[in-house]
Amino acid sequence: MEIDPFIFRLSIFILSIFIGYYVVWSVTPSLHTPLMSVTNAISSVIIVGAIIAALAGNSVNIFDTANIFGFLAIILAAVNIFGGFLVTQRMLAMYKKKKKDK
């Protein structure tokens, strides 16, 4: 009897929830804001689906309805990816340790 590939994906999903649980508990509370902005950025990996959707179908009619939704999703996700990672970078650059010169 063959196992449905869905079960494999479900296993990945469940195990990832556990990984997320332990990894996020180890995040220091002072970095909770960067945590939110970076999770925001990485959840925009949904852009992968948007790209496939945008390039789907025939190359004659690029702007089919389904493709248009793909293109719109690309813009939204791209705002998030660049915005999310860069603002996280900007925040993290501000966290400094006490200078030892005193």
């Binding site: 996020v24 990996v45 860069l86």
Partner: protein
């Protein structure tokens, strides 16, 4: 590129995303973590391009739109002031939500591309996954918009409640599940559109009854939703990177919501059902009899702190509103020159999002090893000479420990009242968000400084 190789690359970017979150366990490793995240994203996008392999005009459009979105994002990221971070995050959540809805729509209209069957004959499992993804995405979208408007002050932060609200939400939730069932049974596309429209409505209804100071929970919760939406789409597209990320983000948001609820000693449902703050009028009216307070000025405050050996600063949302973090750091600098030991104490729910105060202090160049969380520093108040409370209120109210009748009873608070003297910067005696009087105002060792947080801090610097 073979499907197997593609899957392995997606797995690698999933792993890099895990490392990105892992890096946040300490500020030193966090920058490297962020880099891992960026690499993971670049891999995911790169291999997707290669897998499509169709470098036609459409491809140029994709690149074009990617650049347009990217430049908008980069522009926002550089321009946004740190005080506006909660709004920004809420805004970004709404984009993830809407993107999930769009991808789901696209997959629904053109299922062949994703190997999900043909229109009108989509695999049941895929149909369930994509309608769940679209529904959660739509809820995330409108919910985040409302959160954004409330945080931005465009919409009032006070809860909007009406009769039968919870019943309506429950009914809509059940209708949604019913519609998904019907969609699977009939494959009629109308149901799919109705599911999305109702979900948009649910997002609005879910967030309007929640008040301004509960925003940390709301933002975390929407963060979690955006993850589950991504995971739903990940199942539809059979993409491991999306499934892993969705699970990570979903559990991250859930943990943050839990931490925030615990910081307020309230259950998650209590926050979600909302309406907090509007119901405690009787309690605040009871305390209306005029009790004497000690009123001080910048000169007194400067004198007290200059002669102290240790000072603990307790910042709150008021500091963010007044943009007082830079003035505050200058004040601390001059205190340090006078040999005073200064530390910062941060309550988990201070501000409008998790870690809000930490970011603002970091922006003002406060070293992160001078900033402490509630459990780390609470015992130090007893040995401290002056506590300088700037823009915080409810999180210092001793009533939470003494009065079981109080709405904030049981909430962990900063033991500010144990320090030898308390300087309380506040514009007036008005109660805080919870609508209750702060006992601390009337204590013998409390000196009230009635002024704008930034103005008062600047005046103190002049007197130091």
């Amino acid at each position: 590129m073979s499907a197997n190789l593609l899957a392995i690359f997606y797995l690698i970017s999933g792993v890099l995303f895990i490392l990105a979150l892992r890096g946040l366990s300490s500020p030193e490793t966090s920058r490297q973590g962020n880099l891992f995240g960026i690499i993971g994203m670049a891999i995911a996008i790169g291999v997707t391009f290669l897998s499509v392999g169709n470098f036609s005009t459409g491809f140029l459009y994709v690149l074009g739109f990617l650049l347009i979105g990217g430049s908008i994002g980069a522009f926002i990221a550089y321009k946004i002031p740190m005080t506006a971070m909660p709004e920004l995050v809420a805004g970004f959540h709404s984009l993830v939500g809407l993107a999930a809805v769009f991808v789901a729509i696209s997959a629904f209209l053109n299922p062949e591309v994703f190997n999900l069957g043909s229109p009108g004959n989509i695999k049941i499992a895929s149909l369930i996954e994509m309608s769940l993804g679209a529904a959660i995405g739509a809820i995330t979208f409108t919910g985040s918009i409302i959160a954004f408007l409330k945080l931005r002050g465009i919409m009032s932060g006070s809860p909007i409640t009406f009769l039968g609200q919870h019943f309506l939400n429950l009914a809509l939730g059940i209708i949604l599940l019913g519609l998904i069932f019907y969609l699977c049974k009939t494959q009629i596309s109308t149901w799919f559109w109705i599911i999305i429209i109702i979900s948009f409505l649910v997002g609005v209804l879910l967030i309007i009854p929640i008040g301004g100071a509960d925003m940390p929970v709301v933002i975390s919760m929407l963060n979690s939703y955006s993850g589950w939406a991504a995971a739903g789409i990940g199942f539809t597209l059979e993409n491991t990177a999306l499934i892993i990320t969705g699970a990570l983000v979903g559990s991250s948001g859930a943990i943050l919501s839990y931490i925030m609820c615990k910081g307020m000693n309230r259950s998650f449902f209590n926050v979600i059902l909302g309406g907090f703050g509007g119901t405690d009028q009787s309690l605040s009216a009871k305390g209306k009899e005029q009790k004497p307070v000690k009123n001080g000025n910048a000169d007194d405050a400067a004198f007290l702190m200059k002669n102290a050996s240790s000072v603990i600063i307790v910042p709150g949302y008021g500091m963010a509103v007044a943009q007082a973090q830079h003035a505050l750091r200058e004040m601390v600098d001059s205190l340090k020159k006078n040999g005073v030991k200064v530390t910062y104490a941060i309550h988990p729910v201070a501000g409008r999002m998790p870690g809000h105060m930490n970011v603002l202090l970091a922006e003002a160049n406060v070293p992160y090893d001078e900033v402490f969380e509630l459990e780390e520093i609470n015992n130090d108040f007893a040995n401290c000479d002056v506590a300088y409370v700037i823009g915080a209120n409810d999180v210092t109210n001793p009533v939470a420990k003494t009065d079981p009748q109080s709405p904030i009873y049981g909430m962990p608070i900063l033991d500010v009242e144990k320090s030898k003297s308390v300087l309380f910067v506040k514009r007036s005696l008005s109660p805080g968000y919870a609508g209750i009087d702060n006992d601390l105002f009337y204590r013998d060792n409390t000196l009230m400084l009635f002024a704008d947080a930034k103005k008062m801090t600047e005046d103190i610097i002049k007197n130091l």
